[in-house]
Amino acid sequence: MKVKTTIVALVACTIIGVHYSTLRAQSSRSVWDGVYTEEQAKQGQGLYNEKCSSCHGDTLMGGESAPALAGGEFLSNWNGLTLGDLFERIRTTMPQNRPGSVARPANAQILAYMLSANQFPAGKTELSQQTEVLKEIKIDAQKPNPK
């Protein structure tokens, strides 16, 4: 009985440990880790041109009353926050003429396009449309040194 309990406890610890390390790995992900696909960014470009470019410019460089969505000032402003923060800002307040009218999958595609325009690498996994998942991906303006 005692042995059995120990085994259960060990298994539980292992499961918790694995889960914990997975969480740790997730929280250390950044925009440099290939967090979107090229296809997603391509779809996002079409949506961007339709929904966003009238204010933010057709190459995301900003316009008369809208900030740039690519480049140094944009990245300075969002550096240290997460893709979840950026996703929520877009999802709930944009586009300005119909805030909240763009669905989550389309917003994720637009965000993927913004990542691509900011020269962050594409990867094999699609960018999530779940805010909580995106909150685990950090926006680092500077490329980290290879370990």
Partner: protein, 711 residues
């Protein structure tokens, strides 16, 4: 005519007992004559526009030790958070009053703790949703006759609200049940275009509103008007932005001043072909200043309809972009001075006039000084309107946009010198290295450039794409204006020194406008310019989330040249630093005493590989939301951008400068940039500074700072 669609009754409740009146003050004869130096009873501290309080508990020795005393998050004041909080609160009798949230409600907070005492919001339905100036606005006005205390503010839907300052309840005897409909009694019928393309009376959709705070002087509430962004107007016809005075007791209209003269009135002939009859806008959207002793109101008037094209309004267009002094009791014009003839650059008059009692060549002068987008500080004798130093009419370049009317001259102040850049010439281009400068010269070669008042270009795909300007729509000094220090006779004012605005016009497509030309880039679809906050207020419907069908990216050839990509070089601004400055300008001499680069060097410049190995002095930041506060010893203003530096984590700094030298003497961290100008007050022996912050992922918040110590 549609009726005003107030869908739900106003919400108003007493959330707590109003703070105990801890301060003793003498009953004034009428509203606004009180001048307690430890309170902040008006948006700009006082009716003179000073943003000055002679407080010194917070000073150079301790500014860096400031702590957050309390904070007030505005997310729940409306049905969605707001990311553009521009307010400056008031503080009277231990209570802080402010507008807040996407609802633009009025709130009362305990000045010592930030506890919510009451909140009053108005649900305006379609009228609020179609308002040209939504979101929380810049503030409100306080009035007392020694017995009653009232708070006045203006809703997005352009209704003047009168509240009991103690409870937040509507005042039944003011207007109709506490409300004055500002779309009525305006010497015009507020109208809008209907589905058939007819201009018809329409109080719901008729374009007019305001975001600035009303002002109360001697029992008269002063109200201006604002409109949508004017770069791509739907029509040459629009509602007019007349200025008015209302009785603070009853809400009755006392007077009106026609910022566009009516037939037979002075200035009507400065609108050729009867264009005064249909041209609109020309409102007073910035803060109004008052000299109660002289009984004069100083109105800073904006541009007429069509920011960048005036072919439908030939003539000088009085009182567009003029400073107008009118009688406080009657609204009669006493004097005026047009700062820009036939406006074509969206210079407006963007800042509150500053009243200054100065000494010039040994003679006392009651002056008024006006900071502007174009970086000139215009200084007048405020009794007569005569310039304190000569303002010369100088010839300016005539443009060649078909149908446009050009003024052959424009006024140039001879003193003080321009305090920020107001033209684009090769000497203001980036010059960290010769290569960067050469690239900048190549980039601007596709534009028309020149000094202040270089006319807008008709856009051409082969060039010029547009006229590249500084000191126009963005400024220079925009809506936050400056401060005036009555001790030193100095104006302190922030200005953007690198806010580039390309101004090009294209023939207007019929579906966009009945104007001949509107802002645009040749080869590109004309985009309707929208102001910040449009459709973002609490009355705007929350859109249903229909999945959008992906659209194919248009071929590059159809998109035309991307001019914004040319406004930078290798991730660096096209214009050289300093990108933003605070200037101290002495009004006795008409001289700039000092200029300080304001704001951390942006990350994108500090970390830019193209600048590796170079020693770049502090650059300051490009921004147009930065307002200043001046105290006994300090000038205080926050950064307009987020930075992450070796000295501080991700955030923006609230900075203090020695007001006599411009040296930074302290800084305190904030989680987001300053978006509303700081104010200060004393309560129970403790000095507080409140500043509004917001932007990016950070929703609007008022933060109150004070020094650590025993309560």
């Amino acid at each position: 005519m549609h009726q005003s669609s107030i869908q739900r009754p106003a919400i108003s409740f007493l959330a707590g007992v109003a703070a105990a009146v801890a301060l003793i003050w003498i009953t004034p004869a009428s509203g606004q004559t009180r001048a307690k130096s430890d309170e902040w009873p008006s948006y700009n501290a006082d009716l003179a526009g000073s943003r000055y309080r002679p407080l010194d508990q917070i000073n150079a020795s301790n500014f860096g030790k400031l702590e957050v005393a309390w904070r007030f998050k505005t997310d729940s004041i409306g049905n969605r958070p707001e990311y553009k909080l521009e307010g400056t609160p008031l503080m009277v009798n231990g209570v802080v009053y402010a507008t807040a949230g996407s609802r633009r409600a009025a709130v009362a907070l305990d000045a010592g703790t930030g506890e919510l005492l009451w909140v009053h919001g108005e649900h305006e339905g379609e009228r609020g949703a179609s308002a040209p100036r939504q979101l929380s606005g810049r503030g409100l006005a306080y009035w007392t006759d020694g017995k009653e205390e009232r708070i006045f503010y203006i809703t997005p839907g352009f209704r003047l609200i009168g509240l009991d300052a103690k409870t937040g309840a509507l005042i039944p005897s003011f207007g109709k049940g506490g409300v004055v409909d500002l779309k009525l009694d305006d010497d015009q019928t507020i109208s809008a275009w209907n589905d058939k393309g007819e201009w018809v009376p329409d109080l719901v959709h008729g374009e007019i509103g305001i975001q600035s705070a009303p002002v109360v002087a001697k029992d008269t509430i002063l109200v201006g008007a604002a409109f949508r962004e004017g770069m791509t107007p739907k029509s040459m016809r629009n509602n007019k932005g007349f200025a008015r005075g209302f009785d603070a007791r009853t809400g009755k209209r006392l007077w009106i001043f026609h910022t566009i003269p009516m037939k037979g009135e002075y200035g009507y002939d400065t609108w050729e072909n009867g264009s005064a009859d249909y041209t609109g806008n020309t409102g007073v959207w910035s803060q109004i200043t008052v000299d109660e002793q002289l009984g004069l109101v100083y109105l800073p008037v904006e541009s007429p309809t069509g920011d960048y094209y005036g072919g439908h309004r030939p003539g000088n267009n009085l009182f567009g972009e003029s400073l107008v002094a009118v009688d406080l009791k009657t609204g009669q014009r006493k004097w005026h001075y047009q700062l820009v003839h036939h406006p074509l650059w969206d210079m407006d008059i963007s800042s509150a006039p500053l009243l200054a009692d100065i000494n010039v060549d040994g003679k006392p002068v009651k002056a008024v000084a006006v900071p502007t987008k174009q970086g000139f500080l215009y200084v007048f004798d405020r009794v007569t309107g005569k310039p304190v130093w000569p303002i010369e009419e100088r010839p300016v370049e005539k443009g060649n946009v078909p149908g446009e009317w050009y003024s052959p001259t424009q006024p140039f102040p001879t003193k003080p010198p321009a305090y920020s850049r107001n033209g684009v010439t090769p000497d203001v281009l980036i010059d960290f290295t010769p290569e960067l400068h050469d690239q900048a010269l190549t980039n601007v070669s596709k534009f028309k450039i020149g000094p202040v008042f270089t006319p807008p270009a008709e856009s051409n795909v082969n060039g010029p794409y547009s006229t590249l300007t500084l000191g126009t729509a963005a400024g220079g000094t925009n809506w936050p204006g400056g401060s005036y220090d009555p001790e030193t006779h100095n104006v302190y004012v922030f200005a953007c020194n690198a806010c580039l605005v390309p101004i090009g016009v294209v023939p207007a497509p019929k579906e966009v406008s009945d104007m001949k030309y509107v802002m645009g880039m040749a080869g590109q679809k004309v985009q309707i310019a929208r102001g910040p906050g449009e459709n973002a207020g609490a009355d705007s419907p929350r859109a249903s989330r229909a999945p959008a069908a992906p659209a194919a990216p248009p071929p590059a050839a159809e998109r035309g040249p991307n001019i914004y990509a040319l406004l930078g070089v290798k991730g660096l601004p096209l214009i050289k630093p300093p990108y933003g400055t605070i200037s101290a300008i002495n009004l006795d001499k008409g001289e700039i005493l000092w200029q300080a680069a304001h704001g951390d060097t942006p990350d994108s410049i500090r970390n830019n590989p193209a600048l590796k190995g170079l020693n770049i002095p502090k650059t300051g930041q490009s921004d147009y939301n930065v307002g200043t506060l001046v105290t006994k010893t300090l000038v205080i203003a926050g950064d307009g951008q987020i930075t992450t530096t070796p000295e501080h984590p991700r955030g923006a700094m609230l900075r203090a400068y020695d007001k006599s030298t411009g040296q930074q003497v302290g800084a305190v961290w904030m989680p987001a940039p300053q978006t509303g100008s700081p104010m200060t007050y004393m309560l129970n022996g403790k000095q507080y500074i409140i500043v509004a912050v917001s932007g990016g992922a950070y929703s609007g918040e008022y933060i109150a700072f004070s020094l650590p110590g025993a309560e």
